[in-house]
Symmetry: C2
């Protein structure tokens, strides 16, 4: 018990629930790591698509980043509205359920679940990939590093969202501060030099153009850059983690995340243009990421460079945390509606929905192990899930405003959001279908089918449980109590006494093994001891002693004969229930289990499996 | 259930026990494979020690084999006597227990157990080693072949000794017939040619002498050759497998095994001498075993050669079967005396002591995996176990005859046996101590310590169970029955009805989660439904309705508050017992477990662990 407290913290009472909630300062690291981390791979991905343009790519950076910023702004404004409209939970699942009905809700649920699971594997392996490419000696341990970070994030979240927020605050704010400083200084240099800054470490020359710019190329670059926006919806899904005033705390968190992300993207675009930076071929030797070139160009390879790159690495590695905050909360809502096992809605000793956390850990670990810690190919996939949820959430909000009426301005913002995210979704799907988008197109319907299956099962089970009419007042006769009896000892003494407290009709059942003359003599001993030591004193005290019944067990197992006996009693006394009392040893030491038969356990399991509707199983724990 | 019947056969009733017994024809393959198989490696091992003598070794074969034959004769005669004196079980454990007391019995038990476990690993890997050396393409699969054969032997023995006997009869008798024929023909050739037979395939020339014969060399060759005698004690340990007349069947089996083994050894020695055969260096290229040379020399490399060698391989591979017949029976006796877990003494659905079989399979597989299927180095070890049991058994018989009195002749045979096997044991120990005999010297005391530990535990547990005085007639008041109650449904209806059959004092316990205003309203609903639908009809029918009790569960777990409640009731009504009734769903499909909480299970486990002495746990299985 002490180890568990050390790892996960002491257990928390329900009344401590309010104190577990967070404000925006802890909210940004808790929910923003995915969004902020994507600033590193979004621009990189967009510029990689532009490589064939060579130096001409610089002219097109703005064309690609500007619509992304516009989309981010639309998303920000519309999520602000959603938070106000759905102050308890404004995630895509809730909004779709309220406004688009069951199909929309299930689509949103499966998209969110897949998105968050992918994000865990992709985020961690991307971070570890960046780490091992700068420290190649760590390369053989990539998978172990991935699993170690996953375990760290999982344990932090099993302690609670509050703890995870505080634990990851340092790298988050260090990342924001260092990049704000570096990009700001870069912008200043560009202004000061009239657009021709002198890089401290010169970035490699941009290559020659091998292709002319085309709309399709720019659309593909836009689609790739859209990965920068993943993680933005996490705040809406995690609303119930915030303390009062909830809407203000959530909006503040959303504002910090979106503003930081937007400024980072704009800053990166402008600085890349000014310093003439481009993406490099990742498979070529001497590869450097855009952000590494950028930091090097502005401040050189000093302490600041390493501080910035290390904080970036940390943010990437920990971006899985966003999933750990949002996924269990989404699953809880889905489970409360009966589409996921109910255990997803149960809060554990730390008030955490630990089944969701553990499920996410297991599937994330499974993906990491399956792909040996190299999940680059999954990156395109999770933008699809994110944009599907964006679109559903926006569309739901449009319906919401239409129903409310009179909120034309707000409705228009969400309508614009719906159209733009839907267009972006189509572009991403088209641009990346062959790269793996088809996997998501397959996984979504499968997940929906599973959710519907679970729902049907629960509906069926609940119907079976429904009580019809008032409580029946029949069948209140005392049951026949059978006691498994081998020979007289303190354990069976106690079991018989217990049985006699339950009913006047007690039968001590001794199972015969029938094995030859020696056995039968022993049997007489058992019967004589029973008569003299059990039955006689009871009769003397004026009580009816339990009957001793000898039942043959030709196949040595005990459940068969007992079930037969129960069936016979059921026939003889219809309407009365039967209780089987099994004395069971409680072992204080684990190895004691080896030295005793598991007979009580097995008998119980067999009775559970085969017993008729009027059977009770009574266990009398014996601690010796 | 059908798969289990197919693999292991239908279940057997106790009364079928007699029909499961075997006569000597099935007894020889069941118990003799180890003994007969050792004819291949005993002479080989002895001749290997003689290699340094070169051609001179031929002169000494007789000096080595003759004392082995003499020892075998003594063992045969004394085991015949033992079978008569102990017709139910004449193994070393029984004889030592009856005559040498606990220390002797434990020494015999541990020696036997170690011997049989080693025999499984060594027998199978020796057979597979011979197979892969003749079919080198099988070499990469050696371990899998070992484990496959182990599984085959284990399954045959889980069906029963009878099945194992019949299954392995063909290779056993084929082996005996082919070697009898070949060696007989070889002896005839030697006689016909006046001692100078012409080999069909000439064996390699014997090397030049590099060493002169010494007593120590001959003693070491004798010690090595003694491995030929292992497995002879199996008949005495397996007596209860024989049908009536037991002593005659067992003696016939022993006679066939010892006679065959003796004739084989003599034949091999004479033919090796006549055809000028010697052992070859196993590590050198072109290595051939003595028996392979022998068969080649007598009948050439035709069909007969392959039939003989294949039957030899089969006998070697299956020699593990002897362990599977004898080990579970030894363990059963040891378990009946309380030195091993009692489950070793329980016969399963096939009347087999399957715990022993499975234990042997697991430890055998463990050794094979640990040594990667190459256990040659363990061969010397198990002769030690065998000779230790021989010596103990003989010594016990000496004591037995001394007690009986008037059996001077029989006593002398056993005394001779004691001295000779003890001398052989000392020689083997000295000759092989560094080769691994020290492992046995270590394993035996450890095993004895484990046996004694188990015995002490059982003695302690039995003392705790002992009933003192007559059955107590107090504490027969009806218990307070608590029913875990969430809201009214068919399952809780049934649970309440059951509880009311057990006692007039029933409390429906609803655990409060305390979570805000919404929860409390729901609570009023629960209480109102209870009053209107449960309590009212019962009151109307003139019965006392169970009380509904609302218990706060601040930490969401249910066992803590329930245990507190039980403690309170215990205090308020001392002497009365408390029963907790838990409705528990029985799932028909395995996946249904995932969709329901394991709350009933966990509650039961927590109550078992922490409940006071007056608690009963009542399970009401609900099949929906």
């Amino acid at each position: 018990m002490k180890l568990i407290d050390l790892l996960f913290g002491r257990r928390l009472a329900n009344r401590e629930h309010e104190q577990r909630k967070i404000g925006w300062v802890a909210g940004v690291p808790a929910m923003g790591l995915d969004g902020l981390g994507s600033s590193s791979y979004g621009p990189e991905a967009a510029l990689t698509i532009l490589i064939p343009l060579g130096a001409a790519s610089l002219a097109y950076i703005g064309w690609v980043i500007a619509p992304i910023i516009a989309l981010l702004l639309i998303l920000y404004l519309s999520y602000r509205q959603t938070l106000l409209a759905y102050p308890t939970n404004g995630g895509a699942y809730t909004v779709a359920k309220e406004n688009l009905g069951e199909p929309g809700a299930l689509l949103a649920a499966s998209a969110l679940m897949i998105d968050y699971i992918l994000n865990v594997a992709v985020g961690i392996s991307a971070g570890v990939g960046a780490l091992t490419s700068s420290v190649p000696s760590l390369h053989p341990y990539a998978l172990w590093l991935c699993l170690g970070i996953l375990a760290l994030v999982a344990i932090a979240n099993l302690r609670g969202t509050r703890e995870a927020g505080w634990l990851f605050a340092l790298p988050t704010y260090l990342f924001l501060a260092s990049f704000a400083g570096i990009i700001g200084y870069g912008l200043f240099q560009i202004l000061a030099t009239g657009g021709n800054p002198q890089p401290v470490v010169a970035p490699p020359e941009l290559g020659r153009a091998t292709e002319a710019a085309s709309l399709w190329l720019l659309l593909r670059a836009f689609a790739a850059g859209c990965t920068a926006m993943t993680g933005v919806e996490a705040v809406a899904n995690g609303v119930d983690a915030f303390k009062e005033p909830v809407v203000r705390q959530a909006r503040a968190t959303l504002t910090v995340i979106c503003l930081s992300l937007g400024l980072l993207l704009i800053g990166i675009a402008v600085v890349a243009h000014g310093y003439r930076l481009g993406a490099m071929d990742q498979t070529a030797a001497g590869y450097q990421s855009v952000l590494s070139q950028l930091v090097g160009a502005i401040v050189g390879r000093g302490v600041l460079y390493y501080a910035a790159m290390i904080s970036l690495l940390a943010v990437l590695c920990l971006s899985a945390n966003t999933s750990f905050v949002a996924f269990p909360r989404v699953c809880r809502l889905v489970a409360l509606d009966g589409y996921l096992p109910r255990s997803f809605a149960v809060s554990d000793r730390r008030l955490v929905f630990s089944v969701g956390v553990l499920f996410l850990t297991a599937t994330g670990a499974g993906l990491l192990i399956l792909f040996d810690g190299i999940t680059d190919r999954l990156i395109p996939l999770f933008a699809i899930g994110a944009f599907l949820t964006f679109t559903l959430s926006q569309a739901g909000m449009v319906v919401h405003w239409l129903r409310e009426g009179g909120q034309r301005g707000r409705m228009l913002i969400n309508a614009l959001g719906t159209v733009t995210t839907a267009v972006a979704l189509v572009i991403i799907l088209l641009a990346k279908f062959a790269d793996g988008a088809w996997i998501v197109a397959l996984a979504v319907p499968l997940t929906i089918a599973a959710l519907v299956g679970v729902h049907r099962y629960y509906q069926h089970a609940d119907r079976q449980l429904e009580a019809a009419g008032p409580f029946s007042v029949d069948e209140i006769d005392a049951p026949t109590v059978l006691v498994a009896y081998e020979d007289r000892n303190r354990m069976t003494d106690r079991a018989l006494r217990f049985a006699m407290t339950l009913s006047p009709d007690v039968v001590a059942v001794h199972l015969l093994r029938l094995k030859g003359p020696e056995q039968e003599e022993d049997l007489r001993g058992i019967r004589e001891r029973y008569e003299a030591e059990v039955a006689a004193p009871l009769t003397a005290a004026g009580m009816t002693p339990p009957r001793l019944m000898l039942v043959p067990a030709p196949y040595r197992e005990i459940d068969g004969p007992l079930l037969d006996l129960v069936a016979k009693i059921d026939e003889a006394t219809p309407g009365r229930s039967v209780a089987i009392l099994i004395p069971e040893r409680v072992h204080r030491r684990w190895w004691a289990h080896i030295l005793h038969s598991r007979r009580a356990d097995r008998l119980r399991a067999a009775l559970m499996e085969h017993a008729g509707p009027r059977l009770m199983i009574v266990t009398a724990p014996w601690r010796g």
